[in-house]
């Protein structure tokens, strides 16, 4: 099922790219477009497992989340790899906080990225600028557990062969 979803989406993305190129720059239509889909995206879910290493030290490592139970913290990581020969710019990664999960405060990270949050998937703002209006009409800053989407805005282009990484933690309710 995963594979099916992936290939379908990849096809759609490819079509989108070709059409976009054709529409914006008819002159280049005769030359082969840049490889469609310069970014391959991978999302993984992992959990932190504490083990004892050879020296008897407790170390934490990430292992694939095989099964989840309420209260468990899952680490969601998206990697966007540039598989083209030229840099890509304005890289933005959007990742929803999955249904039935609660974002762990201050857990979003991404080197070189500005991170903004949303309560509806449309309007994004920095954490301290995200406001909500309560039933009684008073306004306040949104709580992290209210976030539904996270967006990473990468400040610099991603060079060929490099990747952008966006990660957050969420707890299963």
């Amino acid at each position: 099922m995963h594979k099916g979803t992936w290939s379908l989406l990849a096809t759609l993305a490819t079509l989108g790219a070709v059409q976009a190129v054709a529409a914006s720059d008819p002159a280049s239509a005769s030359t082969p477009a840049e490889p469609q889909g310069c970014i391959t995206v991978k999302s993984v879910a992992e959990i932190e497992q504490e083990t004892v290493n050879d020296k008897g030290e407790r170390v934490k490592r990430l292992v694939p989340a095989a099964k989840v139970v309420p209260g468990m913290e899952v680490i969601w990581t998206v990697t966007a790899s540039n598989v083209c020969a030229q840099a890509v710019g304005n890289v933005t990664i959007d990742n929803p906080v999955p249904e039935h999960m609660r974002y762990v405060p201050d857990s979003a990270l991404g080197a070189g990225a500005d991170i903004v949050f949303s309560l509806d998937g449309r309007r994004f703002a920095a954490a301290e600028q995200l406001r909500v209006r309560d039933a009684d009409g008073s306004e306040r800053t949104a709580r992290p557990d209210e976030y539904t989407h996270i967006r990473w805005l990468f400040r610099n282009p991603i060079e060929p062969g490099r990747m952008a990484l966006a990660r957050f933690r969420a707890v299963l309710k």
Partner: protein, 336 residues
């Protein structure tokens, strides 16, 4: 002295001895999580520009299935039960709550041969019932439990009230205690928290033992408490002419002395004395051990005068032991 007003007859003092059950707040030990079998899905979107063109692409979809957590909490619902030697069908009340995240069956077991007490309550046959009618007491409507035949299947956060029924051996000393323990285990399995039963959870998910170990227990106790309450009532009549004749307008002062005798505790003793027919309660006349009580039954003091369902003086004497000493209640009525 003890002239009875004509037509009043003898009025027995009425007692209501009530065991105060522990507050029924047990059960929900913790917030329950997402139900087992739920799919947790995530797909990320990436957009970027290359050569002045905007491109958007989606990641693979990660799907996680929520496994079943096996958890149970057992709580004792009844206070220490006071019993007499030789008493039969004495009841302890327990509540079994499924604190896991899937519907789960549970096996119940009752043990009364335990250390730390002075006697072993004898399990009745059958010894475990479901409190089918929700009365908190053993009644004909309650369903007996047979292990393996009607193990309770509880929804997440669901609970069942269980009655443990014992007979009390005879020849026991006052104050002797007998413990009985209800043990409950998830049918899927028990073990150290984190133990996995692959594929055995709800809907084919894995089942994982929760913090309770997927089992639980609670211990109740019986205490032999021979305690008797005696109430002695007397009446003094004062007529409007300075005599003691029970004529209309005469005032009758009733005095009731309640005394507890024995080794135990009579819990939640309440006292209700109807106002005799053809008489009227005299407002502000109630005293308990010489201290006035207001007529209101809604205020903080121990008693008052009520007209519902019928005219009566009612006083809560609380828990009484022999050491409490005699409790003296006084109130007045006038003959109509």
């Amino acid at each position: 002295m003890h002239n009875k007003p004509k037509g009043l007859g003898s009025r027995p003092v009425q007692f209501a001895l009530a065991l105060i059950a522990l507050a029924g707040v047990a059960g929900r030990a913790e917030a329950l999580g997402v139900v087992a079998g739920t799919q947790i899905e995530n797909t990320a979107q990436v957009s970027y520009t290359i050569g002045g063109t905007s491109v958007s692409t989606a990641s693979n979809t990660v799907a996680l299935t929520v496994a079943e957590v096996l958890d149970v909490v057992v709580t004792l619902q009844s206070a220490t039960t006071s019993v007499s030697p030789g008493a039969t069908d004495q009841v302890l009340v327990y509540r079994v709550t499924n604190t896991g995240n899937a519907s789960e069956g549970f096996r119940l077991a009752l043990t009364s041969v335990l250390g730390g007490d002075e006697f072993d309550p004898l399990p009745a046959a059958p010894a475990v019932y479901f409190d089918t009618d929700g009365s908190g007491a053993l009644t004909a409507a309650d369903t007996p439990y047979t292990p393996g035949a009607n193990d309770p299947v509880l929804a997440p956060d669901g609970f069942v009230t269980v009655l443990a029924v014992h007979d009390i051996p005879s020849g026991l000393a006052n104050g002797a205690r007998g413990f009985a323990r209800l043990e409950v285990a998830a049918l899927t399995g028990t073990g150290a928290p984190g133990t996995v039963f692959a594929g055995q959870g709800a809907g084919g998910t894995d089942a994982v033992v929760g913090t309770s170990g997927a089992d639980g227990e609670a211990t109740g106790q019986y205490v032999v408490a021979d305690i008797t309450l005696a109430a002695v009532k007397s009446a003094t009549v004062t007529d409007p002419f300075g005599g003691s004749r029970p004529v209309p307008g005469a005032r009758i002062r009733y005095q009731i002395v309640v005394t507890a005798t024995g080794s135990g505790v009579a819990t939640g003793v309440s006292f209700l004395d109807p106002i005799p027919a053809n008489t009227s309660f005299v407002p502000g006349s109630i005293t308990l051990n010489g201290n006035p009580l207001t007529d209101s039954t809604a205020d903080a003091d121990a008693g008052g005068y009520t007209t519902t369902p019928s005219a009566a003086v009612q006083v809560a004497l609380g828990d009484l032991t022999q050491a409490s000493g005699p409790q003296t209640l006084v109130f007045d009525v006038t003959i109509n």
